[in-house]
Structures are given as structure tokens and as C-alpha cells.
Amino acid sequence: MNGAFIEATALTKVYQRGREQIRALDHVSFEIRRGEFVAITGPSGAGKTTLLSLIGCMDAPTSGTLKISGREVQGLSERERTRLRREEIGFVFQHFGLIPTLTVAENVALPALFAHRNGATRLDELLARVGLTQRRAHRPHELSGGEMQRVSVARALVNQPKLILADEPTGNLDSATGESIIALFQQLNRDGMTIVVVTHNAAMSAAARRQMVLRDGRIVEAQGE
């Protein structure tokens, strides 16, 4: 594998809730190399989603450093963070995050619109890859949960990112459907995609090549490669 793609050093995130300070992440350090499939697990409130948000440039750390592709995220402007998110990262959400009034094809092409790219060129390939070619003109309410999550995955891939971040991608799916999403993630990883997934799903965690267990904002266990 290649060198560190994501490098966190003493990453800390503190939220202020009224007078109370919540230390969501507490001096977390780790590296993720290109092409890795990492599952972040742990109990609710452990800081998993906070960590994913920081890696996804959706939030800024309180202290510590986070490097993605060699660039320090905290030194980037809002505009640069948006560009990084748009060009290098694809998101998959537990609740899919699809626009209900858009068709499958339109939802998949949406990030390409923001990147000023022609999403139509990759659309057929992506829909075929997630097995939704026949559903391209359907709207989200006409799809099953598994199909919606596949649309979400196709959307995450449209701008050819280097990293997929998934927050509980099987959280809203039954186990059979969840397995098909896990298989899809494994296939993407075999094709070279770096994947970081926050999950409670043991099967998803087992499918990842490496597991990080978070508790009270700290990494308490790391397994795998």
C-alpha cells in the first residue's frame, strides 16, 4: 500500500453545550493509508461521527492536526475545504440524504453539478455498478432502503473521489440488504478506493480490513492490517 492518506495527530474536538464542555474527541492519533478499508466502531457518544465529520472537512478540530493527502485541514479556508470535500471525498449517510423530488439519475449527478462536470458521462457506468440502471428515472420514494443506499453510494462516486466516508450505511437496512451494501463497499475497496465507515454492524466491521474502536473520545483498540 501507499503512504498515509489521512494522518491525525492529537486530534481533539470539544463542544460547548451551555456551561458544559463535551470532549467528543480527546487526543486521537492514527494514520489511514490509501486503499484501506477502515471501520470505526464503539458505543453511542464515543465520538465516531465527530471523527468522521472532521475527516470529511465538515467541521474543524479544536486542537491537534489532521492531514488529508498531505494537506493540513485546519489551515484550509472554507472554500478550500468545500473543494476538498467535492473533489476528493464521497459521503454515504445513514439516512441516504437523497433529494426526494429528484430522480435517481439526477441525485447521482448532483455533486457533478457543483464540480462543474458533466455527470452524465459516468452516470450509466455508476448506475450499472450499483445495479440501478432500470431505476434511473425513479424517485427515492419509489425505491427500497437498499436501493436508496445504492443511489447514495453512486452519488458519492460521481466526482471520482479518493475517499469514501460512510456514516452507519447499513443502519437503516435489514440484514440481507445490509450485506449487499457491505459487498458493494468491499468491491469498491478491491478497486482501490479508500473507505472509512462508522458502524455498529458487526458484519460491516468484520468486512473492513482494519477496525478502530472508540470510547469516550479515545481510540481504545485497533485491529487489522
Binding site: M58, R79, R85, G97, I99, P100, A109, L110, F114, A115
Partner: protein, 391 residues
């Protein structure tokens, strides 16, 4: 996927709310379009009507000069009369080039529409150089010069012997006026003596139309007319003053209507802003997702701005078409409230005004979009997704 398609999503999601908001803009723009076209139409209508009279000064019996002017311009019965011998005094006043006497009376036809007879003599031709007619000017007893519309309605031709409508008399159509697009088209012009006889007002006139040698000498000539022996028994109405006074009266109506239209526009802008703001609040999570998948603050601002513009421009187009389609009704309503309404169309299609109204609607949209678009663009992606998950 295009920006236009993405920004038109709210129409699919909440068609009723979008429709009601658009209707608010349409009503405001319709009011503005009607008001602006009315302003131009009214001014041009009054000016054309006064110019068609061909006179600088109107001499009428004592009483309200504006009522008298309105009767002279549109045709109706007069409440009082001038003595015919005033004509000589008027014609002899310094600065007067020509003075044309007129006797006007109106009879109600079976359908309720008035039949207006105007007795004149050849001096009227000096005031109406634009008049063109087939046949001849009425010079013999019983001869009638019919307005274009009056002749068309009754299928009269030059030389026809006709029963004069609503009068127990017959006449000969000596001539038919070419269309003037004014009140003249519906008048029946006869010899002055015939009109005085038919309506039993021998030796009396309803008004005298006066043309000056020099229009710049209006004030001294009007003063001289008021100072002549007959001056105490007649009103001397300078038509330029009449035009200004009517415009002033209309302006006060316009100001009132303009205020209402402006308030309607402000309310529409507030309504649009509020509706889009509600839509942004309802879509907080969705906006968070858009930011997560790569939309910048500028993209989100542009998206909400485009949504607002769609409402306002659609409202503008509908409003302008609505105003034009309903112009007859609006015109009737305006006529009922105006102190003086010209017979010309008050509201008519005007591309410049239509463009102005659409531009105004777009400007309204830009202002209305500022708050919701700024609010949407200011949402941090993570906060938006968390906030949206709560709602």
C-alpha cells in the same frame, strides 16, 4: 442535471405554497402594470381629446367649467346655454383668430346609448383641419354630416334620406366623416340653425370653440375674453389649463393607487421572502447534504436566489398578462372614479411598461431572496444536518 432543474424542485414539492406566493407577486405586478399604463394612457387620451377639439379656448355657460368641458368633449345634454350674440363679442376680441359656435344635445336611444347632435357652421372646419369626409359639409336644412361609427352602425351612405334617430324629423346624409378615433365618430353634425330648431333653443349656443392667432398669447387673450361685456355670463376655459388641472386631479388618484400598488409590492416581497425562508428552514438537512456533497456557500446562495427569482419572474409574467386580460374591467372601474375620463383606451399594451414590470419583479425577487439565501448559505454543513435531523 441543471441549476434551473434543481432550483425548480420546490414547485414539485410544494406546488400550493409556490402557487400562492406567485399569485401574490402576480397581483402586485398586475396592479403596477395597470397603474403605469393607465398613467400614460390617461395623459395621452386627455391630450388627444383636447387636440381633436382644435381650439385653444372653450367658452361655455356659467357653472363648473370641467363638467362643461367634459360634455363638449364627450357629448351630452347641457344644463344651461349661451346667447348666440356672445359669439360676435368673442370673435371680435383681440387675439382671437376664429370662433366656432356649437349647439349640442343628446337623446337617449332605445338601447340606452346617447345619440348626440351637434349644430355647427363652416367656421368649425377652420378648427378641424384634420377632418376628412366623403360627401359634403351640411349647408342645406336637414343635412347631416355623420360620424364614421354612427354611420356604420346605421348603415348610412352619402345621399341617404334617413329618419333621424330619436327625433321626429328626417334628414339627408350629406357626408360621412372618416374615422377620427375620438368622440366625433359617434356624433351627428348638422347646421347650427337645425339643431337649435329641433331642440327648441333658437338664439342659443352650448359652447364656442376659440382658436387664437398666437398660442403664446393665451393669458392676455383669456383676460380680454373674461373682460368683455358677455364675460360675466360665460366661463372662459383655456384648454391648456384644463389639461393641467385634469392631470393634477388624475395625479392625486394615481398617487393613491400608486401607494396601494407599492404596498402590494412590499407585501408580495415580504410574502416571497417568508415563503422561501420557510422552505429553507424545512430543508435545513437537505442543504446540509448539498454542502456535504460539494456545494459551496455560493452554490447554495445561488440556488435559493434562483428559486426566488422563478417565483417573482413567473409572478411578473402572469401579472402583466393578467392586467392586460383584465384591462377592460380595470378601465371601467377607473372611469367610474375619475373626474374626467377621455374616450380613448386608458389601459393599453406597452412593451416598455411590460419590460419595466418584469424588471421590477426580478428586482423584487433579488431583494426578497437576500434574507433566505444568506441564511441558507450561512448554514454550516454539519450543523445543518444535525439541525435538520431534529425537525
Amino acid at each position: 442535471m441543471t441549476w434551473l432543474a434543481l432550483s425548480s424542485n420546490e414547485w414539485r414539492r410544494r406546488p400550493l405554497r409556490q402557487g400562492v406566493t406567485t399569485a401574490g407577486v402576480a397581483i402586485a405586478v398586475a396592479a403596477m402594470f395597470s397603474l403605469l399604463t393607465f398613467h400614460d394612457g390617461y395623459r395621452d387620451g386627455v391630450r388627444n381629446e383636447i387636440e381633436r377639439l382644435g381650439a385653444h379656448v372653450l367658452v361655455v355657460p356659467k357653472g363648473c367649467p370641467y363638467d362643461a368641458a367634459s360634455i363638449a368633449l364627450h357629448g351630452a345634454n347641457w344644463p344651461c346655454y349661451l346667447k348666440s350674440n356672445y359669439l360676435q363679442e368673442v370673435a371680435g376680441t383681440t387675439g382671437v383668430a376664429s370662433a366656432a359656435p356649437a349647439f349640442m344635445a343628446a337623446l337617449a336611444a332605445a338601447d340606452g346609448a346617447p345619440v348626440v347632435f351637434v349644430g355647427i357652421d363652416e367656421r368649425m372646419l377652420a378648427l378641424r383641419p384634420g377632418w376628412k369626409f366623403d360627401g359634403a359639409f351640411p349647408r342645406r336644412p336637414g343635412e347631416v354630416l355623420a360620424g364614421a361609427e354612427a354611420a356604420r352602425l346605421r348603415h348610412w351612405r352619402v345621399g341617404d334620406q334617413v329618419a333621424l334617430p330619436e327625433l321626429s324629423a328626417t334628414g339627408t346624409i350629406s357626408g360621412i366623416l372618416n374615422a377620427t378615433h375620438g368622440a366625433d365618430d359617434s356624433f351627428l353634425y348638422t347646421r347650427l340653425q337645425d339643431a337649435q330648431q329641433w331642440f327648441q333653443h333658437r338664439g342659443e349656443l352650448t359652447h364656442i370653440l376659440v382658436r387664437l392667432k398666437d398660442a403664446n398669447l393665451l393669458e392676455p387673450t383669456v383676460a380680454a375674453l373674461r373682460g368683455c361685456d358677455a364675460g360675466m355670463d360665460m366661463n372662459v376655459v383655456p384648454l391648456a389649463h384644463l389639461f393641467r388641472t385634469i392631470q393634477r386631479l388624475a395625479n392625486s388618484t394615481r398617487l393613491l393607487l400608486g401607494s396601494v400598488a407599492m404596498i402590494a409590492l412590499l407585501l408580495a416581497a415580504t410574502g416571497v421572502s417568508n415563503a422561501v425562508l420557510m422552505s429553507v428552514t424545512a430543508r435545513t438537512r437537505e442543504i446540509g447534504v448539498l454542502r456535504a456533497v460539494g456545494a459551496s456557500r455560493g452554490h447554495v446562495f445561488g440556488l435559493i436566489w434562483l428559486e426566488t427569482m422563478q417565483i417573482c419572474v413567473a409572478g411578473g409574467i402572469i401579472g402583466v398578462l393578467l392586467a392586460f386580460a383584465g384591462s377592460h374591467g380595470v378601465e371601467s372601474w377607473l372611469r367610474s372614479g375619475l373626474p374626467f375620463a377621455p374616450s380613448d383606451a386608458l389601459i393599453r399594451w406597452d412593451w416598455l411598461t411590460a419590460g419595466l414590470c418584469l424588471g421590477g419583479a426580478a428586482l423584487l425577487g433579488s431583494f426578497a431572496a437576500l434574507l433566505p439565501a444568506s441564511r441558507a448559505a450561512g448554514l454550516a454543513p454539519l450543523e445543518a444536518m444535525r439541525e435538520g435531523a431534529k425537525t
